[in-house]
Amino acid sequence: MPVIAKIAAFAAVLVAVFAISVWAGGTFGPNPDIAVPHPPSTSEHLPSHGGAGQ
């Protein structure tokens, strides 16, 4: 198979996968309200200088 056709076929598969995933996300996905808590849990901010112990 020529390279262009190969890449085009793969791109088409990706588009199909994306479309199916959007549908699957809409149908079976979790409630978006509980999906993204804020702020990020894996980062924390150091207290500013002089703020420690206050």
Binding site: M1, V3, I4, K6, I7, F10, V13, L14, V17, F18, A19, I20, S21, V22, W23, A24, G25, G26, T27, G29, P30, P32, A35, V36, P37, H38, P39, P40, S41, T42, S43, E44, H45, L46, P47, S48
Partner: protein, 738 residues
């Protein structure tokens, strides 16, 4: 047709070599063969094609090509170190990556704005350090394929790209941001996380792996150099009555040249004067020198053991058998199919799956209605976690430990591609002389006719043989001296060229040689002597008859002794499921006798060097995967042609250079050990690759669910790396069967 050898850069696997070859062959009047291992393209082209066009064609395919540079001075350095550039890249990346990884993993090091320093250090690593991977990934993309380079390129760029986004447009750039040291799983929008340590770490680890591989890469061309250096450098040409010493290059066809005892014959030719014993073991593998006289053909680079010869050159330079042999070795090396790296084969399937999974993750979260940033976080996390850091360590660590253990056991393995071969090897071809046998003549037995003592026969024969340098004479004289101590001195001594010797020992006129020589001299030859001779010859022995005072008195049986360990080695090879075959330039009787002693059933005798290559090719065409064990120059082409070439370290440099594995010393039992060790190393590599992927594949669902954080990514990276290294270290426990 003109030919040129181009240096090709940018090839990452065997399929790249095939692409370059196809591209060059598309040009009119061009025939090209590309060798991935040597990174060379041998191109023959017609008048209307220029070397520049060839370079342009290679570059159009996405690779680099360089025309050969003028030959360096003979004493100058012959090669640049191919790993030197990679070493420099690795060291710089290592220096930059260590602080990045340390800052990300050790919270106490996370000073305010540490993330910006991290970006400054990691960006050159990912962009410049991983440049070879990005370039290879682009070349692969243009050909619609994916390899390990694609996976690394996608993974590191995704990690760097996301980190840049998080730093500039997310919350990760805020002064005072830290990576909390926690492995708890929680969904975030990801803009507070950076993955610079993953990007820099993966790049450095993989570069380290590539560096170790580059160091082990076969230095092709060394075999050819060693082979061509075997020829004579100068020659004494006879011009009229004057002898003139000239460089070998000036020797022409028809020139008559003189070869003195101990000298190498300068070119292929015809003996026109004198007679001598010629050591042609280089070509034929036969340990006994061949007697030549006027009218006989001689071959360049063989050694004149004794006698003075005048030879008329009839083939010089590139037409000599030595040059043809060099071409055979080169063709065999070039034609050897290079196995695609295991990691590349896995990546070819893994990469499209990961990209599809990433797209699916993006689609799923968008479909579920979460903010686009969170959906992207999860999609990019899939790409980041999919690139296993340990992938770069899987092959080199196992290889380093495996080859290190091999070196302790006297087994030198040249590169990872060898290991791929050992897995499938089902046939082992063993060269006889010097491999199964010691390669030197040894006295086996002394037979005395009725009324004579064997010791007396040996004493007289030893005394007469003492002045001779012939290998058979040396074997008899040494054995006599070892058994009987000081030997009498031969009063007179005459070499009957090609027949034997005559002389006087203790006042007796002694004749020594073939039985026929004694019969021709009207010596009385008892029947028992004739029948014993026949029996000994059928057992592969060389028989020397001794007679004095008109009567044959006894026989001395000489043969190339089988190594004491050969039989055990053959049984070990059989135990590994391999079928041993013995090939030799010697005659069938000798070969069969040796084969029977060591337990080999299949024998191919009377073969010339080119026949050895043909034998290997024929077996390969029959679907067999062939290992060749040899030691001589005459084995070099077959060693290069075989799927696995094993050279005995006691052999010639040419054989060692043409082989994949070298056995230090001459114990044949190291061959089954080498195959076992290689198989163990290969299975370790496979185990490593499995676990390198497994930890990251296990983390993929977390990434897809949007639950990945830098600590989980780091932990997957660390665990898989530790596992891979520990698994590789297990190879140190490999025990030899010796």
């Amino acid at each position: 047709m003109t030919s040129v050898e181009l240096s090709i850069g940018g090839m990452t696997c065997a399929s790249c070599a095939a692409r370059v070859e196809k591209k060059l062959n598309k040009l009119d009047n061009v025939t090209a063969t590309v060798n991935f291992a040597t990174e060379k393209a041998r191109v023959e082209f017609g008048e209307h094609v220029t070397p520049e066009q060839l370079v342009a064609a290679v570059e159009a395919a996405g690779y680099q090509a360089r025309l050969p540079e003028p030959t360096p001075a003979a004493d100058g350095p012959l090669d640049d170190d191919p790993a030197a550039a990679l070493r420099q890249r690795l060291l710089i990346c290592l220096a930059l990556s260590i602080p990045v990884i340390a800052m990300a993993m050790v919270p106490v090091l996370q000073f305010p704005n540490w993330q910006w320093l991290s970006l400054t250090l990691a960006a050159p690593v990912v962009v410049w350090g991983a440049w070879p991977f990005h370039r290879a990934a682009c070349a692969n993309l243009r050909h619609g394929t994916a390899t390990m380079d694609t996976l690394i390129s996608v993974g590191t760029l995704a990690a760097l790209g996301w980190s840049v986004y998080a730093l500039f447009w997310g919350s990760a750039g805020t002064p005072g941001m830290t990576h909390a040291f926690e492995l708890t799983i929680a969904r975030t929008d990801g803009t507070g996380n950076i993955y610079l340590e993953a990007a820099a770490g993966v790049t450095t680890f993989i570069l380290a792996g590539r560096y170790f591989e580059a160091r082990a890469k076969r230095r092709a061309g060394a075999a050819l150099r060693a082979l061509l250096e075997m020829g004579a450098k100068e020659v004494s040409v006879r011009r009229g009555v004057v002898e003139q010493r000239i460089p070998i290059e000036q020797l022409g066809i028809g020139d008559e040249f003189v070869v003195r005892p101990g000298e190498k014959i300068a070119a292929d030719g015809l003996v026109i004067e004198g007679s001598a014993a010629i050591d042609a073991s280089m070509l034929t593998g036969e340990s006994v020198p061949v007697e030549v006289q006027p009218g006989d053909q001689v071959v360049g680079a063989t050694v004149n053991v004794d006698g003075r010869l005048v030879v008329r050159a009839n083939r010089v330079g590139a037409d000599t058998q030595l040059a043809q042999m060099a071409r055979m070795v080169e063709e065999a090396q070039n034609g050897k199919a290079q196995a695609q790296r295991l990691a590349d084969r896995i990546s070819a399937v893994f990469v499209p799956i990961v990209i599809a999974l990433s797209v699916a993750t993006l689609g799923f979260w968008i479909g579920a209605g979460v903010p686009t940033a969170a959906a992207f976080t999860a999609a990019v996390a899939v790409l980041i976690i999919a690139c296993p850091c340990a992938l770069g360590l899987a092959t080199p660590t196992a290889l380093m430990v495996g080859t290190g253990r091999g070196a302790q056991l006297g087994i030198l393995i040249k590169g990872p591609e060898v290991l791929e071969s050992t897995r499938r090897v089902d046939t082992v071809i063993l060269d006889k002389t010097g491999t199964v046998t010691t390669g030197t003549m040894t006295l086996f037995d002394v037979f005395a006719v009725d009324g004579e003592q064997p010791d007396e026969v040996l004493r007289v024969a030893g005394a007469l043989e003492s002045p001779s340098e012939h290998p058979i004479a040396r074997a008899i004289a040494t054995a006599a001296r070892d058994k009987l101590g000081e030997l009498p001195v031969a009063d007179t001594f005459r070499n009957l060229r090609g027949l034997g010797l005559e002389g006087t020992v203790d006042g007796r006129a002694v004749v020594l040689g073939r039985v026929r020589l004694l019969a021709d001299r009207s010596y009385e030859v008892p029947d028992e002597l004739t029948s014993t001779t026949r029996r000994a010859e059928s057992d592969g022995r060389t028989v020397v008859a001794v007679g004095w005072d008109g009567r044959a008195r006894g026989l001395l049986m000489v043969a190339d002794a089988v190594k004491s360990t050969s039989a055990e080695a053959v049984s070990l090879l059989k135990a590994l499921g391999l079928s041993p075959i013995m090939v030799t330039g010697d005659n069938e009787a000798v070969a069969r006798a040796v084969a029977a002693q060591v337990g080999i059933d299949e024998v191919i005798a009377g073969v010339l060097p080119q026949d050895k290559v043909e034998t290997v090719k024929r077996l390969q065409n029959d679907g067999r995967v062939v290992a060749m064990v040899g030691d001589g120059v005459n084995d070099a082409a077959a060693l290069a042609q075989a799927d696995l070439g094993v050279a005995m370290g006691s052999g010639t440099d040419v054989a060692i250079e043409a082989s994949d594995v070298t056995i230090v010393g001459d114990d044949l039992r190291a061959v089954p050990d080498a195959i076992r060790l290689s198989r163990r190393t290969l299975s370790t590599i496979k185990g490593n690759l499995f676990w390198a992927f497994a930890y990251n594949v296990a983390a993929l669902p977390l990434a897809a669910a949007g639950l990945l954080n830098p600590m989980i990514a780091g932990a997957a990276m660390a665990f898989s790396s530790v596992f891979v290294v520990t698994n590789s270290l297990r190879l140190r426990a490999f025990t030899p069967s010796r």
